[in-house]
Symmetry: D2
Subunit: 359 residues, 4 copies
């Protein structure tokens, strides 16, 4: 491999104020490889105009350090600060429009980018149309869109290791792709029958903005389906799984919990199989993947097993006919579905153990 | 119609201590037709052995009356008390084994039975095998099983009006049957493609027994699938919808909320249709059903719309291909899924307005 | 009594879009005295500019009627509509500034006002300063402020029966006042030692506006104290209980639940008493109050006993010294703490049974 | 100091199946000092009688390791296994009766004990009577009770460093003691006026047993006070704070959340002080305590700041009179209130950094 293994790396987080940004800050601050190199936290700190810096705890009180030690700070952005800090890799935890505009600049300065938005995840223009992106330099953007690696280490470990621009996957997509990829690649799924993904996510997936739908009174003690036939993550499913739009159908629901996704996936196998054969396909595929856990059938994962971890847990039950299969896939949308997977990508890019700082 | 309309009726509730029993008590105590005839509440009151009676509020503190008035009481069972009270209709909110054993006795005494358990819901032996019932008088039990009317007023209003034994439907079943029946009866569903019902229920559906799965720490902030391919309500779906076991598939999930069911149902239409045509099928079917509400497509119901009501809310979205349909059906498992539907059945049996005491 | 008993009354609700407004609509639509006289719902319906009317269900989907019947509507305000509808009593469920400005106009037209805001609750200028009210006609406003009756029927039944302007109490205040009033009036409390009220409220108390503090991610799985030493309801406590600011202290907390208030109140009795003596003081005081329930000591009320009811439940424990007393008082902030109490006031004003339409 | 600093230590956890046991397992498995010495997990593994061992994940699925590596195991207890593993320190996460009986045996074998139960926390017989302990060797038990060190590192760091038997404090007690100790030691509190502690805890504090009170339907959307004037942790408050029973009063409440305690504490200062003076007393006291965070007044901590951390957060507001003080103290009952504090004690006993493995 081209990469030599680094002992550490200088990182920055842009957009540290959101939920994924906060989790990134927590993970990076306690990552054993980064102990000597505190990340540079970049945010909107307009309210502290004179100093251009606020303590991280003012955005995320849970991240304050005890015992009177100095608190990590969030500083207003400047290229000068980035250069002085010797940043080698940046995490962009920003709206996709901002990432689309800004990522090329970081790359141009020789800084690798791990982007948590949807800006660079899709390779086909038809699929990415949903993001309504307008690019100043369209040719460059198209070229980067082709170059960007979909940051799912379980599927693209090698490409990530050598990537300049990693597009961290969507939370729903990760849960569905990891469950389906082994079976699809094994060629055992009757894709023409159609695959149905009934997915449920906690409220942090809706972001930090206070809206009618993130109001406690709307979400609590409730469950609602939304974006039926129209969720933006659909494109990732099609491209990563090699399916057409009439072969897979995805319905997200809003769960009355802070974090966690559970996807219940319905499909038919081409030929009748035994449960242990299906389990074997899954286990073989993830034999070297420390962040995926396969349940012994008919055991099924639950959200409480994976909340606050970077694991994706997968289980299934097979009908007596040996054909109708129900997969259940769970992950924490802020970790394996966002910040945790981003750090996992950093580990892969640096040649470190994939799970480092994530257990 | 044979029934003349009664001004009131003497009712009893056996098994008032559970969640459905408590809701029944609440509904009956405030039912305008029963104001002059307080129900007889029967329970296990062994802890008050000397008197054989306890105040209802000791089982359900929320049902206490204020202002120093006399509290409703729960009394230990005796046929003498039942006779003295002139009971005409009894609600059995008991385990199915108990109902199976006990219902024939009530009927023999000329008392109509509305049974909330699964004991009498299924007409085919193969489907009811799941309940492992052993009957003292097998011939009588078989005969009653055939006679029993499935207590879904929207489908069997006439039979209920004339029934002696009403088998109140399961909570999951009600939500799925009410969504699917209009489309199946209209003959527009491609049943051989298979129908998938991904259902989610609040914890009260699991009953009052304190178990590992009803522990707050298990259910809260969690979601889990269970009984995949094997839930007891499946038989009701097959019989009421006229489907075979390979035509419909039902996966229940445990939601971290007290009450409410949301079922997301996936099917294909035989021929491409317009959304307004599908909506019209639903609206026509329920034109005279006060307890069903159809959402204007693409609007979808949510659990918070129906909690603490006796409504079943149904909505849907149709894919652009005009064939792939996603139905969403919601109800309160303790009301339209249990006690509320039982009172609705009482109303039908008495010739009263179906929604009386339920709004 | 001057009032003759009306068989019905024409009511209007201004501000039907909020949580209290929605509960008011639900209560009034099913109030047995108002069956023949549907309330006039007034709201901001700017988005339906051409018609000036929207179905109530578009604001509160849970209030839709089933069975294809006509839906209640919300209309944009005009005095013409108010006059045409023959409105006799209006509920104002609006911000206090709006109520302060608007209530005089309704009164001038001979329409009684039940105001749910804090605009008219306080008689002393020093206490009402917290609302920062500016009145066009200051003299009239001052006069009305004196005339307004604090709408707590358990304390002011007679005055409410004859009132033109009823100031519906705050939710926290109601829970604390109802617990303390009997003991203070009996003269048994050592008020100079100081009374401490540690109160906890569900999120609906914070209103429908989407803010950082009503975001699900802020409130869920959390508890926080706020407005220590500075909550606006303090003035109501002082005036209604006849205490000075150093005699009572009140700390509200935000509970991770939709509805319900529990206040834990700490005080010392002047002289050592027996628990049954204290209980007797409470029971006597509320002997004719159907919406207050006293728990038999040492039983204590809980939020789940009162949610979705109009009851205020009160219980207590007395230390072995017979002096240190802990009172616990619970109510539903949207019912006994807002819309339910407002309807209770309507009942009193009309000479109806106080609990009519509220059980 | 007598202790030399060890590079690692061999630990065992007895009672790994409970909530605190599970958190202990998680912390110890990832503790940097214990990487080369996996703890010995002891539990009831009767269901695996032939092997006497089950994978840890069968008790705590969230603790499974991914990537096909060997899973940690829980083994049935034997002194032989303890000896073979060379255990130096054991954590007892067991009922207090079991700890009382068993701790002497471990000590006798030269193994240090960190006990998470209430068995050894109290030095005065009158206070410990609440645990109704019966000791086989009463003299030995009394002697150990005197010897045991109350495991609150912020108050007893030195004694813990040299202790054989550490009695890990109660969860409620820790939150209250840490808030009050600095002020009481500074002599600024009017203790005779009385201190009131209104404490609220998540459901995990009630333990893993499925009971009526841990049922989801009891705890969810609810709040209830319990054990008023009679909670077992009261003795710890009296002994550690040097107060008499009429000087402090403690009311616990059950919160509808999985984890976290918030204590609201009411007291009067002897003399009027400025807020910054009070803050200074707190900050000085905890200047060298990495696991306590003091909020800048009038900022107050919330449960979401400390959940899943080992921090105790403390804040306060002072009335304008400079005397009436409201303290708010928060911690995670399973971490700083149990397993985290136990590991903190291990760190102190081994001479490691107090926060090692806890950030």
């Amino acid at each position: 491999m081209a990469n030599e293994i680094k002992t550490s790396v200088r990182t920055a987080v842009a957009g540290v104020g959101g939920y994924a940004g906060g989790e990134l800050a927590r993970l990076l601050l306690h990552h054993p490889r980064l102990a000597a190199a505190q990340p540079l936290f970049l945010g909107r700190v307009a309210d502290e105009a004179t100093t251009g810096r606020v303590p991280l705890e003012s955005l995320h009180p849970q991240l304050a350090l005890g015992g009177g030690v100095a608190q990590p700070e969030v500083v207003s952005f400047s290229w000068e600060k980035v250069q002085d800090a010797g940043i080698e890799t940046v995490f962009l935890a920003l709206p996709h429009e901002t990432s689309r505009e800004w990522a090329p600049e970081w790359l141009e300065r020789g800084i690798k980018v791990i982007d948590l938005s949807g800006a660079w995840r899709l390779h086909q223009a038809a699929n990415s149309a949903v993001y309504k992106l307008t690019d100043a330099n369209e040719a460059l953007a198209q070229s980067l869109q082709q170059e960007a690696v979909f940051g799912c280490p379980e599927l693209h470990r090698e490409e990530i290791a050598n990537a300049r621009l990693v597009a961290n996957p969507g939370c729903y997509s990760t849960s569905i792709i990891l469950a389906l990829a082994p079976l699809l690649r094994a060629g055992i799924v009757d894709v023409d029958h159609g695959i149905i993904c009934d997915a449920k996510s906690g409220v942090s997936g809706a972001g930090k903005a206070a809206t009618a739908k993130t109001h406690f009174m709307y979400a609590a003690d409730n469950l609602s389906a939304y974006a039926v036939f129209g969720h933006r993550h659909t494109g990732e499913l099609l491209e990563q799984l090699g399916l057409t739009a009439d072969q897979i159908q995805f319905t997200p629901h809003l769960l009355p919990i802070p974090r966690g996704i559970l996807s219940t996936i319905y499909l038919r196998l081409k030929d009748s199989m035994k449960p242990e054969e299906v389990e074997s396909v899954l286990r073989s595929f993830y034999a070297s993947s420390p962040m995926v856990r396969i349940h012994k059938t008919p055991g099924l994962p639950q959200i409480q097993h994976i909340v606050r971890t970077n694991y994706c847990d997968i289980g299934f039950e097979l009908a007596k006919d040996g054909k109708r299969l129900v997969l259940v896939s769970c992950l924490d949308n802020l970790l394996k579905g966002a910040a945790g997977q981003a750090v996992q990508n950093l580990n892969v890019m640096c040649g470190w153990k994939e799970e480092e700082g994530l257990l």
